[in-house]
């Protein structure tokens, strides 16, 4: 563990010194999660409640839970490089934020449309961006701009179980892993970078990546968890 911390410190240092080149390469990588990290909360759809059906909570969905965990891993390059702001939507549906982990480059605008026939309230008390959009009913939406990088946790005042994380990456090279754990950052200029993987429960994992002209060596993140389901390494946010 100590060694990993040392490595992480070295990576931060290296990341700062990285310089973008003219030609670019794709960083290919994969995330390995062998154990289920979080209990996936299940809520019945609002319409199901409307019909009065009681849904047993805490039962997992039919989907592969490890695949679900892999999709919750955000991957980005550290460093204030060029950023191309984007727009994204974080829907509120069936008393959940969809999706629960959103990755956007800094400066992006995120809309929060309410798709439930009930009021929702979107708020955040996170440092990079604090906001409270108030209560608004179905098919109404509000938008928020995220200029600063960081991780913004979003909640609903009316539904304490609703939560989502918006990973505001410092540059345009940011993505999420797919169900198989694969991810790719395209057109990365040659140089030495620190590649960061973040999982809501497991925290930050960093690796140094050297990008040569037209080539980058593949990266593998192993996100370890002990018996209790906690991540072994939880780096600072």
């Amino acid at each position: 563990m100590q060694m990993i911390v040392k490595l992480a410190i070295a990576a931060v240092f290296l990341g700062v010194t990285a310089v973008g080149g003219l030609s670019a390469a794709d960083i290919q990588g994969s995330v390995v999660i062998k154990r289920k990290l979080t209990k996936r909360r299940v809520t019945a759809s609002v319409s199901a409640y409307e019909r009065g059906v009681t849904v047993k909570l805490d039962t997992g969905p039919d989907t592969d839970s490890l695949a679900f965990e892999r999709t919750r891993v955000a991957v980005y390059l550290e460093g204030q490089f060029q950023s191309q702001p984007a727009t994204a939507a974080l829907e509120q549906k069936n008393r959940q934020f969809v999706t629960d982990t959103l990755v956007v480059p800094a400066g992006s605008t995120v809309s929060f449309p309410n798709r439930d026939p009930i009021f929702h309230n979107v708020l955040s008390l996170s440092k990079p961006k604090t906001f409270d959009l108030g209560n608004y009913p179905k098919d109404h939406t509000r938008t928020v701009n995220f200029p600063k990088p960081g991780i913004v946790f979003v909640n609903c005042h009316l539904h304490p179980n609703m939560t989502a994380a918006i990973v505001v990456a410092p540059n345009q090279w940011c993505t999420k892993a797919d169900g198989a754990g694969r991810f790719a950052l395209t057109d990365v200029p040659p140089g030495a970078y620190t590649l960061v993987a973040w999982h809501r429960a497991a925290g930050f994992f960093r690796q140094t990546v050297k990008v040569a002209k037209d080539h980058a060596s593949p990266v593998e993140f192993i996100i370890p968890l002990d018996e209790t389901g906690d991540a072994k390494v939880v780096a600072q946010r």
Binding site: V46, Y49, T54, I118, N135, L158, H159, P160
Partner: protein
């Protein structure tokens, strides 16, 4: 009623009444004690149950307070307060309530504004939690409410935001009778809503509970059983709702009473049996001597005799005294009767003597005939009673001659046919005289028939042989003998031998052939010591039988 029965009943019935009365009293006392004990234990159960319930109420209220501090619910409520008519807002809160319900298992949840207006609520219908029609249903914030068929117990807690009250959260759970160890009844203003007494319809319970005052202990009769009912006033149920516990005293005291009944039944039966036996024995000991006395008296009634008690003296003093005084009275009566009889006989005897005395020749005739007849009877070994009859009958045999004038009776010479016919009437006259005298019935035959002959030539009826009674036949012989041996104005009396000879001669014609030889041997035997005592010494002949006379007199 018989004395025995009466004695038995008079001692048995009070005994039975006393026994049954005391058993009844004891049974009642025990029953009362059992009931009292039961009532006390019921009350204690009741109190402890109420305490437990109050405790759980307190826990519930704490729990509710925490529920009231739910931040998201507060946010929802504020949203709803800001837009009370917004369907989405109401749905939002309903949705929140549903989630709480689903998690915590309430049957309904309701939020209302600070002024008590219901804003949103959900309730369980079957497996589903549906939105409550708050416009129609207005459940109270505390106590009981009945929605449809079900009764709910409702509790509420305020929802505060800072110092400001923004509403009330009410939770309802179905009222559960199983929490009560005793059967209970839930009523509202006299109407029974719910009862956990199995098998008895609510209406019946309601009627039985009518006399009970709202919040007082009372005893009710239900299907022949007595129940004690206590109101659970330690639990507040709100508007007019009363929860009463009902416990059957009979069911609880039944086993004890059953045992008591058995014990008393066996003991009572035993005691009654013992009483019956003792009573029968004691009444018998009283009745038996009395019955003996009664039987003795009955016997006396039948015979006319009053014999003394020969039985051993009774153990009961009163009975003994009764027997003794009866004996005394009997002997007094017997004596009086004997005296009376003797007086009669003496009177009649003196009458006969007076008759005899009309003529010196016949003086002493009746007495002599009496003595001779008695001697014959004794020689024939007749019974003393018969001898008595013969003696007195012989004394009276010529009493009829009173009715015949001296002119005929004392006529010296031969009698004419008419005179003789007159003389022949004296037996009939004698009978008629004595017929009227009570107690002389036995002598009538002697008086009437002492002139009947063995061959039927006698008078007044001409009876033959044994048709005339033995006593009359004996007197006939003795009379003839004395007449023959007595002097007459016109002749001297015959000698004894001559007279016997005559008698022998006419035995079988005039006289009974059996009596004559007997008489003859009797006279011969008495004559022996003075064989030549003379033919005419009639009176002297009487003297040869002094002991006979004396005996006869004593016998009277």
């Amino acid at each position: 009623m018989r004395f025995a029965t009466r004695t038995f009943l008079w001692s048995f019935i009070p005994f039975v009444v006393l026994l049954l009365g005391s058993f009844w009293a004891i049974q009642k006392l025990v029953e009362h004690t059992v009931r009292d004990g039961l009532r006390t234990s019921l009350r204690q159960t009741h109190v402890s149950m109420a305490r437990v319930r109050a405790n759980s109420e307190l826990q519930n209220s704490r729990f509710l307070k925490i529920l009231g501090e739910n931040a998201s619910l507060k946010a929802g409520l504020q949203l709803l307060l800001a837009a009370p008519r917004n369907g989405d807002a109401r749905r939002t809160v309903e949705d929140q309530l549903r989630e709480i319900c689903a998690k915590l298992g309430f049957d309904f949840l309701l939020v209302s504004s600070p002024d008590g207006v219901a804003l949103a609520g959900v309730m369980r219908v079957g497996e589903q939690l549906v939105g409550m029609d708050i416009a129609r249903l207005r459940p109270p914030q505390q106590g009981f409410t009945t929605i449809g068929e079900r009764s709910y117990q409702v509790a509420s807690t305020p929802i505060d935001q800072g110092d400001e009250n923004i509403g009330t959260l009410s939770v309802g759970e179905p009222f559960d009778f199983t929490a009560f160890t005793t059967p209970a009844v839930l009523a509202r203003r006299g109407k029974v809503l719910k009862s956990s007494i199995p098998g008895i319809p609510l209406e019946e319970v309601e009627i039985a509970l009518k006399p009970c005052r709202e919040r007082a202990e009372c005893e009710v009769r239900l299907r022949g059983e007595t129940y004690i009912s206590l109101p659970m006033d330690s639990i507040s149920f709100g508007e007019g709702y009363v929860l009463r516990s009902l416990q059957s005293i009979d069911a609880a005291s039944g086993p004890v009473q059953g045992i008591l009944r058995n014990v008393f039944g066996i003991a009572g039966f035993g005691a009654l049996l013992a009483t019956a036996i003792v009573t029968i024995l004691s009444s018998q000991s009283i009745v038996r001597p009395i019955r003996a006395v009664v039987e003795h008296l009955k016997k006396s009634e039948g015979t006319g005799l009053l014999p003394e008690f020969q039985a051993k003296p009774a153990r009961i003093q009163e009975i003994r005294e009764l027997a003794e005084s009866f004996n005394r009275a009997a002997s007094a009566i017997r004596e009086a009767r004997a005296n009376l009889h003797r007086a009669y006989v003496e009177f009649v005897g003196s009458l006969a003597s007076a008759l005899d005395a009309r003529d010196r020749y016949t003086a002493g005739h009746s007495r002599r005939v009496s003595e001779l007849s008695w001697s014959i009877g004794r020689a024939m070994e007749l019974a003393p009673q018969e001898l008595d009859v013969i003696r007195i009958g012989a004394l009276l045999h010529d009493i009829g001659k009173i009715g015949i004038g001296d002119g005929v009776l004392q006529k010296p010479g031969k009698l004419t046919n008419e005179e003789f016919a007159l003389i022949q009437q004296h037996p009939t006259i004698g009978r008629r005289i004595l017929e009227g005298v009570h107690g002389f019935e036995d002598y009538l035959s002697i008086v009437e028939l002492h002139h009947e002959n063995w061959n039927g030539t006698g008078y007044p009826w001409g009876l033959r042989g044994e048709a005339a009674p033995l006593a009359a036949r004996i007197v006939h012989v003795a009379d003839a003998y004395d007449a023959m041996t007595s002097d007459r104005p016109y002749r001297r009396g015959m000698s004894l031998e001559q007279a016997i000879r005559v008698l022998r001669q006419y035995a079988g014609t005039q006289f009974d052939p059996d009596i004559v030889p007997l008489f003859a041997s009797l006279m011969a035997f008495t004559q022996e010591p003075s064989s030549s005592a003379g033919a005419h010494a009639g009176p002297s002949r009487v003297h040869v039988l002094p002991n006979v006379v004396n005996e006869a007199n004593e016998a009277i």
